[in-house]
Amino acid sequence: MKITMTVNGKAVSGDVEGRTLLSGFLREHLSLTGTHVGCDTAQCGACLVHVNGEAVKSCNMLAAEADGADVGTIEGQANADGSLNAIQQAFQDHHGLQCGFCTPGMVMSAAALLKENPRPTEAEIRKYLEGNLCRCTGYHNIVKAIMAASGQDVSSIAAE
């Protein structure tokens, strides 16, 4: 079936099977490989994107369901001049990523969190990230980076 949607501000279209997942459409049809697939039970969150402004696990949504939607992926997060946005920059500044595989989902999740809660507490961030698994960082620097991205002073939190 034919579908059209807006991805990172650009109109796109494609011919997909009914069973094609949004994650597959982004990766295979649009070559937007920044959206990663880390599990098959909608648990890990590496595939998290924004659909009409909401955080959505793209492995858990059919591409056809996103027909007509406004989709945002990690490839559309940087500033217009190509520099890292505030959340991305905070992740680099605070070493909030190691292997980088969960990172797109983490950044997209953090963006969705800060949109609804601009100054979350540590506990609120940890609760919100329940749907995003990271195996490298022990979450320390991810939580710290999100706090920093929201303008909070993180200098008193142990070790960089």
């Binding site: 099977e17 069973r19 990766r27 937007l32 490989t33 920044g34 959206t35 990663h36 697939v37 880390g38 599990c39 098959d40 039970t41 648990q43 890990c44 590496a46 992926t73 990690i74 490839e75 997060q77 940087a78 890292l84 991305q88 992740f91 680099q92 500044d93 070493h95 990523l97 190691q98 292997c99 980088g100 595989f101 969960c102 990172t103 797109p104 950044v107 540590e122 506990a123 961030i125 940890r126 609760k127 990230l129 329940e130 995003n132 698994l133 990271c134 195996r135 490298c136 960082t137 022990g138 979450y139 320390h140 620097n141 991810i142 939580v143 710290k144 939190i157 142990a158 070790a159 960089e160």
Partner: protein
């Protein structure tokens, strides 16, 4: 004042930019023109005899290119094991074949039976359902102690039993050990389980095989920690291909933690099938498939006994362990319960008599191999649990008992084959006591109790052996590989540098940290140096990244190669400056003549090397050097950890309230990256201690094959961690004085957590000796109420 560049600086990671913008290049992001997709039909029973595999209907399905079964690989080698362990009677381990696709029998849930190559993955999956299997189910061998019985069902019919080897290290005279225990003032005994885990890097494994008929060349893109090891094993032992015709590329890899060290059947299959099908062949593991095909970790059942004299000195230690190897020998599986485990049983202590016994078992489960720490967490868990239990039994302060028995003189020869070159265990413990504010624990405990919670403090010490080496010694111990590493420093004409390294970075930040070293040695900006890794066609033959070895081994090779570059550059500089080579000094990127103001810049010397008009005739043009480095010994990071937990007495729920790590990693190149490595290790260690468990039922069904069933630690399961690495005794035998930091957190944290839970229970009036990991609410509640 923290440095802002070079060795000791927390340089921000340059690789982050591509990862943060979706521009990483992971193996599944690679698609080769014309590729087909493979789906593996895997056994859904643990043990069975294959009567027939009828693929005719599947072959007729739409899009199917070819269906392979075990018969297609009868003339092909099996998956090799890279370490031959010799048992305590001098016999080699039992080493059964491990075919690419099952032949004769299936031996674990997930064992691949057939491989369907099709135009699309969906077509391959559909066709798999049309394969007609006739498999006679056999009793599953799951419990290790039952597997060791004489009448046990055999996992491998051609072996004499299910025991791969019965191995011993340390004191061989049983009577002497018995005597030590008979004369002890106190003996503490503990039976414990080191729970089976799945490494679970967030990126599942992927392999893409490609064959070019015109040049007879193969390329394998794979999620590996060590592409040269994969190429060697696959070419020499499995497919019989010449190495110079095979390129193995491990691009960005989304975490490894050990489980991407090993050579897997899927890699060999995709390489083989690319030629057989005349098309590139791609395999992407699903997460469920990963649970039943990635090598698992840990899974030891042990009994440990500690003998103390009347003054509370440790005088003897004896352990008996059953180690699960699963159904087949994975690449380095045999070394994990032996040379990476038994050798660590001395820990930080000067126990004079130690005997380690290990029976390694074949069972109808997924193969078990190295997972972050690999043998060292299993040793540390046994030792530190029994020390903690001894302290409780004797009414002693657990820190004081440890301090009393610390090794304090270095070098120290342990009774289990290692020589610790350096360390300061008391100094590190001092750092822990301060960093963890142990003096404030009583007040925190009172506050918890006021809130109706039990609070406990758990202490743990660890030592690990990293950068396993030297090659001649490990060869005598059974390793079938060298354990050196290599680096090529290629200086370009304009002075920028490409460093080709054998180590592989899959989260460790080599692309940032390694240039800090070279930049410091030459005195140029880090941005002038780039690290090339992960492609056998670009890098020298190196052994990859595991066992916290990258900086200690490969980094040393890089230093040696850079020293050669500098030595040659000084000859060129001496010529340009019309001075003696001995008088040339290199500082801040300037070559100068000692005692004069004559100098020439790094870039002028490098340009001269490639445009050698005014040039010393006896020196070759160009500026590129390679070094191979084989360490003289292991490195020995060590540390002391403190964990504070709260236990809810009504539910058994445990929460980690405070976690502090004090580590001695020797010298440190990038403190930010080191902290991150420790954080990640602690996160995984807490996962093992509280949450994770790879469970089989008695029929060999894998009960935990998805993230719905296997409890990965999530952000709200863990706290912020305190990390201190100011205790630094540099390694004495590598040029950087570095030790390795990748595994420490995963080794040091599980006993700290369990010790803390037991402290909470016992100080709260609940007499509980031990709880096996994961220390789940149900187990804690049951222990409290038994």
């Amino acid at each position: 004042m923290p440095k802002d560049s070079g060795i000791g600086a927390s340089s921000k990671r340059r690789e982050d930019v591509r990862f943060l913008t979706g521009a990483g290049n992971y193996t599944d992001d690679i698609n080769v023109h014309g590729q087909a997709y493979v789906h593996f039909l895997r056994s859904d029973i643990a043990h069975g005899r294959i009567k027939s595999v009828d693929t005719s209907a599947a072959e007729a399905m739409p899009g199917v290119v070819r269906v392979f079964t075990g018969k297609d690989f009868e003339g092909v080698g099996g998956m090799p094991c890279g370490w031959e362990v010799t048992d305590k009677h001098g016999a080699p381990m039992q080493e059964p074949p491990h075919p690419i696709l099952a032949q004769g029998k299936v031996r674990h849930v997930g064992d691949p039976i057939a491989a369907i190559v099709a135009d699309s993955l969906e077509q391959a999956r559909d066709a798999a359902e049309a394969i007609d299997l006739d498999i006679e189910e056999l009793p599953a061998v799951i419990d290790m102690k039952a597997a060791a019985q004489d009448d046990a069902t055999l996992v491998h019919d051609d072996l004499k039993n299910n025991i791969c080897y019965d191995w011993q290290l340390g004191e061989t005279d049983d009577a002497k050990v018995d005597e030590v225990f008979a004369n002890a003032a106190h003996v503490t005994t503990l039976d414990l389980v080191n729970n089976r885990l799945v490494a679970n890097p967030m990126e599942p494994r992927v392999a893409v095989g490609e064959y070019k008929r015109g040049t007879d060349e193969y390329t394998l893109f794979t999620t590996s920690q060590n592409p040269h090891v994969i190429r060697l094993l696959m070419c020499a032992f499995v497919l019989g291909l010449p190495e110079h015709k095979v390129r193995v590329v491990a691009p960005d890899v989304g975490g490894g933690f050990g489980t991407k060290i090993f050579h897997y059947a899927e890699e060999a299959f995709c390489t083989f099938a690319a030629k057989a099908c005349g098309r590139p062949v791609k395999w992407t593991s699903s997460r469920s498939e990963a649970f039943m095909s990635d090598a698992h970790g840990r899974d030891h059942v042990s009994k440990i006994e500690l003998a103390l004299d009347a003054d509370n000195n440790f005088i003897g230690l004896r352990t008996n362990t059953y180690a699960n190897l699963g159904a087949y020998l994975s690449t380095f599986s045999s070394s994990v319960p032996t040379w990476l485990h038994g050798t660590l049983m001395a820990g930080n202590y000067k126990t004079p008599v130690i005997q380690v016994n290990v029976k390694a078992m074949f069972t109808n489960t997924v193969p078990v191999d190295a997972y972050r720490g690999a043998g060292r967490p299993e040793a540390t868990f046994q030792l530190e649990r029994v020390v903690d239990k001894a302290a409780r039994e004797l009414g002693l302060d657990p820190i004081a008992l440890r301090r009393q028995n610390f090794v304090t003189q270095f070098p120290y020869d342990t009774p289990v084959a290692l020589t610790y070159d350096t360390g300061d265990y008391n100094g590190t413990m001092d750092k822990l006591e301060a960093a963890a504010d142990l003096a404030g624990f009583a007040a925190r405990k009172a506050e918890s109790e006021a809130n109706g919670k039990l609070r406990g403090l758990g202490i743990n010490c660890y030592i690990e052996a990293c950068g396993i080496a030297p090659s001649n010694i490990v060869g005598m111990l059974g390793a079938r590989a060298g354990l050196y590493d290599a680096a090529t420093v290629r200086v370009n004409a304009t002075g920028s540098i490409s460093v080709m390294v054998g180590a592989h970075s899959h989260g460790q930040g080599h692309e940032t940290a390694f240039p800090q070293v070279v930049a410091d040695m030459i005195g140029i900006d880090e941005s002038m140096i780039e690290i090339v890794h992960g492609d056998t066609s670009k890098i020298p033959f190196g052994m990859g990244t595991y066992g916290s070895r990258s900086l200690a081994v490969c980094g040393s090779a890089m230093v040696k190669a850079t020293e050669k570059v500098i030595e040659k550059a000084k000859k060129i500089a001496a010529h340009l400056l019309e001075a003696s080579e001995a008088d040339i000094e290199l500082k801040d990127g300037q070559f100068s003549v000692a005692g004069t103001d004559k100098s020439v810049a790094w870039g002028d010397v490098t340009l001269t090397a490639y445009v050698p008009h005014n040039y010393p005739l006896e020196v070759e043009p160009g500026l590129e050097e390679t070094a191979f480095y084989d360490p003289a010994n292991f490195t020995f990071p060590a540390g002391a950890y403190a964990c504070e937990v709260e236990v809810d007495p009504d539910t058994g729920q445990v929460s980690i309230e405070k976690f502090t790590a004090a580590d001695d990693f020797g010298n440190i190149i990038n403190p930010m990256i080191v902290d991150g490595q420790v954080h990640g290790g602690i996160g995984q260690g807490i996962g093992q201690a509280l949450l994770e468990n790879c469970a089989y039922d008695e029929n060999g069904q894998l009960l935990s094959a998805s993230y719905m069933d296997y409890a990965m630690p999530r952000a709200d399961d863990v706290p912020f961690y305190g990390v201190d690495h100011s205790s630094q005794t540099p390694c004495t035998h590598n040029p950087l004085g570095v030790k390795g930091c990748g595994e420490a957190g995963a080794i040091g944290s599980p006993p700290a957590v369990v010790n803390a839970v037991l402290d909470a229970l016992n100080s709260g009036g609940k007499a509980v000796d031990h709880i096996d990991m994961p220390v789940s609410p149900s187990r804690v509640w049951a222990a409290m109420n038994s």
